[in-house]
Subunit: 164 residues, 2 copies
Amino acid sequence: MNGSELDHFYMQLAMEEAEKAAAKGEVPIGAVIVRDGEVIARAHNLRETTQNAVTHAELLAIQEACQKLGSWRLENTQLYVTLEPCPMCAGAILQSRIPRVIYGARDVKAGSVDSLYRLLNDERFNHQCDVTENVLAEECGQLLTNFFRALRENKKKKKRESLL
Amino acid sequence: MNGSELDHFYMQLAMEEAEKAAAKGEVPIGAVIVRDGEVIARAHNLRETTQNAVTHAELLAIQEACQKLGSWRLENTQLYVTLEPCPMCAGAILQSRIPRVIYGARDVKAGSVDSLYRLLNDERFNHQCDVTENVLAEECGQLLTNFFRALRENKKKKKRESLL
């Protein structure tokens, strides 16, 4: 596989993670971390399940990768995530020195890699990342659209039932 | 105690946490989270001990508070931290909806509350914080200065010893 095909391959794994989140009623966002062609961490958003504000997919994947490598420095790794990281997750990417980040859909409300801020490419910090956006963006975004549509329909249904 | 005295009191607790970090050879940064006058979480930086990139004082305190309250929403809380939060920690503060943040010293290299960014007061996000800076700033900064000075002296000493 060439570079672009590899990016698609790993993003599909991140999408599988996002689907696991949706199955638990969590906003479907998934992430994987790859090193030397090996997936060393995979995780999905678990905020509602854990009731822990920091359990975004990226934060969980980063912690799993640190544990696996026995180091807070995730050198020679790539992080794939279905949605553009928020400030917390972009900050965690900087903290863990991940050299390359690949994401699917933009997050116009909180995305801090391209949309609202460009935290991964600020020369004032002691680390910068190589960023690739727009990998399976439509498919990654569709996961979110479908999830929120189902949520709205479910709410409407419940409201109708309560009026009967 | 009036508001300012209370801020000093809780910041001293955060400084005690920072001192615990220093005793472990960790960069001395400490945080506490308070709710209705009760300290519900206290933590210090543990990055080297855990080899986990996200174990900053604020992240650990936020997770402890979420666990204690059984909720990812830390409503009616105040977070005290000895150093201005980095982007990851500022992002975690937004994620957990902490209404008020009080910090000691500014971090001119990575501070993202006032120094490099003003992440806690960006109207585009779905949460903003009331921020008080400069509470025992000199004392909080001194903890860091002392720590890094001791580290440098220790390195020099080791170098001299290796040359004997």
